[in-house]
């Protein structure tokens, strides 16, 4: 068995006293794209937030590079190499594009690689270079999603967690985005955990996938196999 980069073991987590996740176990290996799909309210966002420490963890283990990070505060998990592109993008609207990118490289190790990282992000997203001095709040939906991803890359993450990156974007931009994810994984060797509503696209670019329902993992496997799974096809109308 391969060594997991990130592993959730029997995780129960939620907000306040409310449990959203029940006994969730999942694994992401180095170099993989793993998709996490499921209907609204299944707990996908909560799963990602739990990984970076923004929820209450009641039970279970979160392992990163073989060590337990249950009690590591969020800002130190970022330092360890986790990065989350949150749902709704979480752009700092009053700051410039460049300032947003700098913030991605806030921790010391990332700061030392600042100019390299900027070059990398501008290579992947040339639009951001054109707009670097613009106030981030004035970007279009697609551009702010690129900024959110670019900003997360600035921290030189070992794993990039993406929460509904295609939400609210035009179909053309959505397919562009999926190509970018593929490129990030293949060319830049970034490991991805992708939460998506576009089930078919996600299964096409990912190596493995988990299906969540009501806070539980109900199905998992190779994405190529899941694409043909009858239950999934019915549930998500994959044609």
């Amino acid at each position: 068995m391969r060594n997991a980069l990130l592993e959730l073991i029997n995780v129960e987590a939620g907000y306040g006293v409310f449990r959203v996740l029940h006994d969730v176990s999942l694994r992401v290996d180095k170099g993989e794209i793993v998709a996490l799909v499921g209907p609204n309210g299944a707990g996908k966002t909560t799963t990602l937030k739990t990984i970076v420490g923004l929820t209450n963890l009641f039970k279970g283990e979160i392992m990163f590079e073989g060590s337990r990070i249950n009690d590591v505060p969020t800002y130190n998990r970022i330092k360890k190499g986790l990065a989350l592109v949150p749902e709704g993008r979480g752009i700092f609207a009053p700051l410039t594009v460049l300032e947003n990118l700098y913030l991605g490289a806030y921790h010391e190790e990332a700061r030392q690689k600042l100019s390299d990282s900027l070059e990398m992000v501008f290579t992947i997203f040339p639009k951001l270079k054109e707009r670097k001095n613009q106030i981030a709040g004035t970007l279009s939906g697609g551009e702010s999603q690129m900024l959110a991803i670019g900003r997360a890359l600035m921290s030189r993450p070992k794993i990039l967690l993406l929460d509904e990156p295609s939400l609210g974007l035009a179909p053309k931009i959505v397919s562009e985005l999926f190509q970018i994810f593929k490129g990030l994984n293949e060319e830049w060797k970034v490991t991805l955990l992708l939460v998506e509503q576009h089930v078919k696209n996600s299964l096409e670019i990912s190596h493995r996938a988990y299906v969540m329902e009501s806070g539980k993992i109900v199905l998992e496997g190779e994405s190529s196999a899941l694409v043909n799974d009858e239950r999934l096809r019915k549930a998500y109308l994959i044609i």
Binding site: T74, Y75, G90, F92, Y102, R111, S155
Partner: protein
């Protein structure tokens, strides 16, 4: 009898100088509110406490009050950080009413302490090297007021530079906008809050040192400064340094003219009334974005 134009000019000039000092007084309040969302009702009382401390220090060391900032700034940073840990941090994210009760309480404790220790008499320092007027013909320049104005401007611009041109400033602005997203950038939000609250209180220590070069300490200046700094922030609209400076000067000039032309006893009421009238027409403040 109409007051002479010289008198008015003099009053405006003194008001401008006072306004710059007010901008320094309001800066810490604005930072704490803007970044942490905490309304520090004790802010003015820290200036009051600082003024007494400067009075004691300057008189016992037989030195100029402005030099006492070497002591008040680090001391007040430490006091601010301690108050943050002991009193503010536990109520973060709680109901606004609880937060208000906590800071109002701190203010009253400080005020009562001052009343008990110093009674209600105003106190001024014995030595202030710059406490004199230089006659320039049309107007006279009060050197202590001029110096405090220039130093205040220098500090306000310095903090602006810190916020816009440094890593820690970037982290402060990110935290002000969204603390959860800030933590996703690897920013230790708790540390930023501690720093901002400490900085906010240390600025009151500095403002108190400058105030005492020409002003007096009494237990009630805290309430006056508290109200004035709130009016300044509300007028200026949170965020910009130019709005802060402009509204500080407006308040300073209105107050100074009120003292000269009406009566010192309404020097708090008139700026406040002007503020209310402005709010009728521009609820977002004079310089806030609509």
């Amino acid at each position: 009898m109409l007051p002479s134009s010289n008198l008015i000019l003099q009053s405006v000039l003194d008001g401008v100088f006072l306004g710059f000092l007010y901008s320094l007084m309001a800066l810490g309040l604005s930072l704490v509110f803007g970044v942490m969302g905490i309304i520090n009702f004790a802010h003015g009382d820290f200036i009051m406490l600082g003024s007494y401390l400067v009075w004691i220090l300057a008189n016992s060391l037989r030195s100029d009050p402005s030099l006492m900032s070497v002591i008040t700034v680090p001391l007040f940073f430490t006091i601010g950080a301690a108050i943050y840990v002991a009193i503010i941090r536990p109520v973060l994210g709680k109901e606004p009413l609880i937060q208000i009760a906590v800071t109002v309480g701190v203010g009253y404790v400080l005020q009562n302490l001052a009343l008990m220790m110093f009674r209600a008499e105003p106190r001024a320092v014995q030595i202030s090297y710059l406490n004199f007027y230089v006659n320039l013909g049309l107007v006279s320049v009060h050197t202590a007021k001029l110096t405090s104005a220039l130093l205040s401007l220098f500090i306000v611009l310095g903090v602006h530079y810190l916020l816009t041109k440094t890593w820690v400033g970037l982290a402060i602005r990110a935290t002000a906008y969204d603390k959860e997203i800030a933590s996703l950038m690897g920013i230790n939000v708790g540390k930023i809050f501690l720093l901002v609250f400490g900085l906010g209180i240390s600025l009151t220590g500095l403002a108190a040192s400058l105030w005492m070069t020409f002003g007096q300490a009494d237990p009630y200046i805290g309430s006056s400064f508290g109200l004035l700094t709130w009016v300044i922030i509300a007028l200026g609209g949170l965020g910009g340094v130019s709005g802060l400076l402009a509204s500080s000067i407006i308040v300073g000039v209105i107050q100074s003219l009120t003292m000269t032309l009406v009566s010192p006893s309404v020097s708090l009421a008139i700026p406040y009334i002007v503020f209310i009238i402005v709010l009728w027409f521009r609820p977002q403040g004079l310089f806030g974005k609509g």
